[in-house]
């Protein structure tokens, strides 16, 4: 078969470069199946448009006109639009609506357009969810003061008020009680051009969880991975710190949400990958479906790298008619793609924002994505994965210390914890460092206590390292104690540079070891020796999709402090 693949075009804010990764994987996957791949993409500066990725390559604007000319010339049998992000999807929709696909009898591979419409159109989606009995946030339309009054007792507080047809959400807001709803609501009715309000249940502070699911044409469904956002509802998931797998959901909760996600992908009849975002009440079994992305998305790329499961590769094969049990798990080489990856590590993603390049930019994060990239770190504990991810950001901060946060007074720090920005992680750490306690910081930020306690664990080690030098005069320089502490610091994820700086070890201190010095210098010299020794300690563990259950052929690795080295065994 000759297949036209639509690329994702230029890399812009809000649509990350991951589509390039996914598209390239998909092209290779189609060629593997013996198909001829024609690629159209307007971006020459990507790997996807390298010579060996497609059989024929058109670097042309991603418009229906140009696309039609490529189709007229190449006469492909089919087009695969679900791997180029929203751009590819929109272009395919336009081509179908203009009758281009019909004219040249080009078949649309993968998820069909009506399924995509059902997922993306708000009203169609809501009615589908009602049909399959999956909860969406309740909402009410109000057009008169009488209707508003009638709603006062019924509305769930807090609720969000959105006046219709006003610019930039003017007149909207959050009401925490009936008085506020009456006040904001009546004002909103006046401001709205058509005198119409939408009142919606507010899910601020609820947990946000995502599931990456796949379905083939035979109706087989699997979950590749679930992810939990450190930032509660209110921040775009692309702007959230995310962990995989979820950490604070019990088995019943995990599978309740998994079942819902699979029910949705089944109802939408997706053929390929799909991302389901859910909001979970931290104090009950209640949840709501927030959004569905009926295609390979930014989250899929993350899930793919986090688990080792090649979502785009498998999605491409599903699009040409293969079923999950017919596709090999490339990582193990012995099992099939029809399974759910088991992780034996923790993954942390932190978005990378461009605020260092735009110092005047508004750093507040909300429902519109501002990040331009992300880093992902893997380790055996959350703490060490988080510390790795911070270093990967290539920002000034290499650990949880931030001079700007340290300089804030308590009131400003409270604000920095409550309002999400790119720097909130450091604000949370500073608040805990000041001894506010996990419960209080949770109340202010609504970040789950599990994450805050992990940050507290890191700060405890930071405190102990500082104490080591400060209390040397009273406690002496017990080498075993120092070694234990240095080891703990490395195991929990502190880089040697941070340990050195907390202990005040300069380069000179290391060479002075062994001489007669004052107690502090001696402690530093001993510590420097242990730091050097620990640097040789890390091993490499395998990302193998199956938590070690099966031998794996083409895995990749992450560094960690453990006893057995998977990489050394493989050589």
């Amino acid at each position: 078969m000759k297949i036209l693949v639509i690329g994702s075009g230029p890399i812009v804010i809000g649509q990350a470069a991951e589509f390039d990764y996914a598209g390239t994987q998909a092209c290779k996957s189609l060629k593997e199946e013996g198909h001829e791949v024609v690629l159209i993409n307007s971006n020459p500066a990507t790997i996807m448009t390298d010579w060996d990725v497609a059989d024929a390559l058109y670097i042309e604007p991603l418009t229906p006109e140009f696309c039609e000319r490529v189709i007229a010339r190449e006469r492909p049998d089919a087009v695969l639009p679900t791997l180029g992000g929203q751009t590819g999807l929109n272009l395919a929709t336009q081509l179908a609506e203009r009758g281009v696909l019909e004219k040249y009898s080009v078949r649309l591979l993968g998820t069909q357009l009506d399924a995509i419409r059902k997922a993306e159109d708000r009203e169609l989606f809501r009615s589908l969810m009602r049909e399959i009995k999956e909860p969406v946030p309740e909402s009410w339309i109000v057009e008169t003061p009488e209707q508003l009054e009638a709603l006062l007792d019924e509305a769930p507080y807090p609720c969000i008020i959105r006046p219709a047809y006003t610019l930039g959400g003017t007149g909207g807001g959050v009401a925490y009680n009936r008085d506020e709803l009456w006040e904001i609501g009546s004002k909103g009715l006046k401001l709205s051009m058509r005198s119409q309000l939408m009142i919606e249940r507010s899910l601020l502070g609820w947990k946000e969880v995502e599931y990456e699911v796949m379905r083939d044409s035979a109706g087989n469904c699997i979950t590749v991975c679930n992810m939990e956002n450190l930032d509660p509802m209110g921040v775009h998931t692309g702007d959230s710190i995310v962990v995989a797998p979820s950490q604070t959901l019990s088995d019943i909760e995990y599978h309740m949400l998994r079942t819902a996600s699979l029910k949705i992908i089944q109802a939408l009849k997706i053929e390929g990958g799909c991302n389901v975002q859910l909001s979970v009440n931290p104090d009950s079994f209640d949840y709501y479906i927030i959004e569905v992305n009926p295609r390979v998305s930014r989250s899929s790329a993350l899930a793919s790298k986090a688990t080792g499961y090649p979502i785009a590769r498998v999605a491409a094969k599903i699009a040409v008619g293969k079923t999950l049990d017919q596709i090999d798990n490339q990582v193990t080489g012995t099992t099939k793609a029809c399974f759910e990856p088991a992780l034996d590590y923790c993954v942390v993603k932190i978005p990378r924002w461009p605020f260092d390049k735009f110092p005047q930019g508004d750093r507040h994060l909300s429902t519109q994505m501002k990040a331009t990239g992300e880093v992902m770190a893997i380790d055996r504990t959350f703490e060490s994965a988080l510390m790795k991810a911070i270093r990967g950001l290539e920002v000034k901060q290499k650990d949880l210390r931030h001079p700007k946060m340290a300089a804030l007074d308590d009131t400003s720090l409270r604000g920095a914890c409550a309002k999400p920005t790119d720097e909130r992680l450091w604000a949370l750490a500073e608040a805990l460092r000041r001894g506010w306690g996990v419960d209080e910081v949770n109340r202010i930020s609504r970040v789950d206590k599990w994450f805050l306690r992990k940050i507290q664990n890191l700060l405890d080690v930071e405190r102990d390292l500082l104490d080591l030098v400060e209390s040397t005069a009273t406690q002496g320089d017990d080498a075993e104690h120092i070694r234990g502490l240095i080891q703990r610091a490395f195991h929990i994820g502190f880089p040697s540079a941070t340990i050195r700086s907390l202990l005040g070890i300069s380069r000179e201190a290391e060479s002075e070891a062994g001489h007669e010095q004052d107690p502090v210098t001696r402690v530093r010299a001993i510590a420097a020796g242990f730091i050097k020794a620990m640097q040789g300690e890390p091993v490499f563990k395998m990302v193998d999709t199956c938590a070690g259950e099966f031998e794996s052929a083409t895995p990749y690795y992450y560094g960690t402090f453990e006893t057995e080295d998977d990489a050394a065994l493989n050589i």
Binding site: Q247, D251, I252, Y254, K336, A342, T381
Partner: protein, 358 residues
């Protein structure tokens, strides 16, 4: 030998060391009777994150003799959490070990197969002597330890979201208890069945005396070949009323139909095992926990058809009798822990019971 830090009770544990690859569900695993006599290693490194709660028990007590984790969460976070893992294990007098390289041990089991092991803080040489002298897992009868002593009834539907219609208890189900999990009883209760849970020693005539509408052969621990009396009961019930078997129940029914079982190198324990239905071709992700499997060739010429196979290793995952109503599956449709995709089996079996009652 792997060195780590103590977890839970300050006692020794001797048992068969097995690994489970599920990323959630440690409370269900800790109380699942099928783990009796085993030391369970969790491959997911962060265990205890959401604590232990009042609801997610699969039996009244902790069943594995010990557990192995990379990191036990000290301060769990979940709205239902009542105890930390460590506190719970101390209260229930079960020891564990943490801070060990669980992936290294998993790979050890993967290549060498499951083996007896010990969690101890004693002198290694002395402990090793005791370990070698200990009775092995394969030689021990665990079913008699976990089966109920006296019959009891169950009509509680549990507190998870239920989308099947509940209502009156229209049907009576006899459960041959070799180590039944609560969620099996909850699922049947949710579908209108009152379960009568019977000791594993109950004979076919005694089962029939309860006038049940169907019989379930439950999951359970240990070597299925050590249970000829349960196999005999199954044979005595064939053709008299609809029969369903889960996990060990599958192995019991297969033996009753003339098949035999063998021990897997390291078993199937986790929530991600793909199973293919041979009639429809559909693949389902299942929750599994078994160390023994049915040999497919042993069913050649038997009065049974293999209905499902494991996609990874081709072992038998389901069978049905050809001339009467009896079917069984090797995995866990009740989940707890694991995916809920196989719940329709309960609906299907209840429909059979209903149809044959009429």
């Amino acid at each position: 030998m792997y060195q780590g830090a103590a977890l839970g009770a300050d006692t020794d544990a001797v048992g068969e060391v097995v690994f489970n690859t599920g990323m959630t569900g440690y409370q269900e695993v800790l109380t699942d009777p099928s783990y009796a006599g085993q030391i369970v290693l969790f491959t997911y490194p962060l265990i205890g994150n959401y604590g232990i709660n009042d609801d997610d028990f699969e039996s009244a007590s902790v069943k594995p003799v010990g557990i192995v984790v990379k990191e036990a969460c000290v301060t769990p976070s979940n709205w239902r959490s009542k105890w930390s893992l460590d506190a719970f294990m101390k209260e229930r007098r079960v020891p564990g070990i943490q801070g060990v390289d669980t992936r290294a041990i998993t790979k050890h089991i993967r290549s060498g197969g499951v083996a007896m092991g010990m969690i101890t803080d004693r002198d290694p040489e002395e402990a090793m002597r005791d370990l070698l002298a200990a009775r092995t897992y394969d030689e021990t009868d665990f079913v008699e330890q976990v089966s109920t002593r006296a019959p009891y009834a169950w009509s509680y539907a549990g507190m998870e979201r239920i989308d099947e219609p509940g209502g009156e208890h229209r049907l009576r189900l006899a459960v041959l208890d070799c180590g039944v999990k609560y969620n099996i009883l909850r699922r049947f209760a949710a579908l209108g069945c009152r379960s009568i849970v019977l000791p594993h020693t109950t004979t076919a005539d005694e089962v029939l005396a309860w006038e049940p509408d169907g019989v379930l052969f439950s999951p359970g621990p240990g070597d299925p070949a050590r249970l000829p009396h349960v196999v005999e009961t199954a044979r005595g019930l064939f053709g008299k009323l609809p029969i369903f078997g889960i996990c060990l129940g599958n192995q019991i029914l297969c033996q009753a139909l003339g098949g035999s079982t063998f021990k897997l190198k390291f078993g199937h324990r986790g929530a991600n095992h793909p199973v293919q239905d041979l009639e429809s071709g559909k693949v389902t992700i299942t929750s599994q926990n078994h160390g023994y499997a049915v040999d497919p060739s042993s069913l050649d010429g038997a009065n049974a058809a293999i209905t499902q196979l494991n996609v990874n290793d081709g072992t038998v995952e389901g069978i049905r009798a050809l001339d009467f109503e009896a079917r069984s599956i090797q995995y866990h449709p009740e989940a707890a822990p694991g995916p809920w995709d196989s719940r329709p089996y309960f609906v299907e079996f209840v429909a059979k019971m209903e149809a044959m009652k009429r």
